[in-house]
């Protein structure tokens, strides 16, 4: 049976990751399974983990009182769910719900933050991987808020 370290090593997020760093991250990781409709986390909860999606689809959503949730993104295989664990106050700013049966690697945030503080090379490697994701999502958000398909 394939171990967490091997699974992490094959995930695109960790492409080119040094073996010793892979072992450190694997020490904070566990396999998780979410049934369709189950929440990975909800807005306001402590951001105590992030997730590498292996299979399935996750919807990121915001809730307005008295209205159904609005889904602003979906993430699937090979993608990362959650960046709020990186920055204080470590609280989720949106909810994440499994649209279908989803299997993911959950990484314990406090564990990984501690290891990044202790080993800045690891921290830098993590930041180098998260920053492009954040920039890409910022760009996508810009395009979304332009509402380019609306009547002009």
């Amino acid at each position: 049976m394939e171990g967490i370290e091997e699974i992490l090593g094959r995930h695109p997020f960790f492409a080119g990751f040094a073996a010793e760093h892979g072992r450190l991250v694997a020490g904070c990781a566990r396999n998780q399974r979410f049934a369709a409709g189950e929440y990975l986390f909800r807005e306001g909860d402590p951001a105590d983990a992030f997730f590498l999606v292996r299979h399935g689809r996750v919807a990121l959503e915001l809730v307005e009182p008295g209205r159904p949730p609005v889904v602003f993104a979906t993430l699937g295989e090979g993608e990362i769910v959650g960046a709020s664990w990186l920055l204080p106050p470590y609280r989720w700013r949106f909810a994440a719900r499994a649209v279908e049966l989803t299997r993911a690697i959950g990484i314990d945030a406090a564990c990984l933050r501690g290891k990044c503080e202790a080993d800045h090379h690891l921290g830098y490697e993590m930041m180098k991987r998260f920053l492009p994701i954040l920039v890409e999502r910022l760009q996508a958000t810009r395009l979304q808020i332009l509402d380019v398909y609306g009547k002009r």
Binding site: R57, A59, L60, E61, P68, P69, V70, V71, F72, A73, T74, G76, R97, V99, E100, E136, Q139, A140, L143, Q144, L146, D147, V148, Y149, G150, K151, R152
Partner: protein
């Protein structure tokens, strides 16, 4: 494709044969000439449609290029002319000039993968290219169709997309900018689908149509995926008037969109695409 027209400035009378409501404010019209057959057209070309007494607008051809019985146009009500066209009922008469312009370079796609990226109503000018590719499917490699829409209720040609999705020789992905929790498909912008699609970036022709900002984002994503600028083609929209490169209303840098486009290679236009004055 050469266009045999006695006088390209003279509208020919066509009758609205069928009118189908696609989305709120968006209809598809089938137009038949009062005499003879429709001229041949190449996927990506457009006609000038004249709503009598209101005005004329450039509207992409969105039907099957193999059909000569009718011209098919999908029209969205955004102004006086498009509103008058969208309001035409079967039996009404409309003036037609065309087809005009340069279409999608499908011959250059033969033997290669084809990546179609459509946003909103941008699927309309791409649909004839998809029909042409499907008619000669064996000539192409992988064919990927990526479609972006504002919401699930605003997905153009939804039933047709569903049919295409059932085919084993097509990869069809649809995304919407926003959805409620009942939508089980993808949510996000269409350029974000590009890294997830299965194609060989070294041997792919990309055809892109949609709002210009979306096309710029898509072009950047295609370049980042490894497709060369010379293999990326966009369909532009400008203020087409004469449609034959005489009046200059649709000037785009050194080109006229009506005559040198509307489909243009990214390699040719990359430098001026984001210049607001052009």
């Amino acid at each position: 494709m050469p266009v045999a027209l006695a006088d390209p400035c003279l509208p020919q009378p066509y009758r609205v044969e069928r009118r189908r409501r696609e989305l709120a404010g968006t209809v598809t019209l089938e137009l038949a000439p009062l005499a003879g057959a429709c001229p041949a057209f190449a996927p990506g070309q457009f006609n000038m449609l004249y709503a009598f007494g209101v005005g004329e607008a450039a509207i992409s051809l969105s039907g099957d290029p193999a059909s000569r019985a009718t011209f098919v146009h999908t029209v969205r009500h955004v102004g006086a002319v498009s509103g008058a066209l969208a309001g035409l009922e079967p039996g009404a008469t409309v003036g037609v000039r065309g087809p005009f312009g340069r279409g999608w370079p499908l011959a250059a796609a033969e033997g290669a993968d084809v990546l179609v990226v459509a946003g909103g109503l941008g699927l309309a000018p791409l649909r004839p290219a998809i029909y042409a590719i499907l008619a000669r499917r064996e000539r192409y490699g992988r064919v990927v169709i990526l479609v972006g829409s504002r919401s699930p209720a605003e997905i153009l040609y939804r039933r047709e997309l569903e049919r295409w999705r059932q085919r084993s020789d097509l990869e069809v992905r649809v995304t919407v900018d926003h959805a409620d929790a009942g939508w089980r498909g993808h949510v996000g912008v269409v350029p974000a689908l590009i890294p997830r699609a299965d194609f060989d970036p070294q041997d792919t022709l990309a055809l892109v149509c949609g709002p210009e900002v979306m096309m710029r984002f898509a072009a950047n994503a295609l370049l980042a995926a490894g497709i060369k600028a010379g293999r990326i083609h966009l369909s532009l929209e400008r203020n087409m008037k004469c449609a034959i490169g005489l009046c200059g209303h649709c000037q785009f840098g050194p080109s006229f969109v009506c005559k040198d486009g509307p489909v243009m290679g990214l390699e040719r236009i990359a430098e001026i695409l984001a210049v607001p004055e052009i």
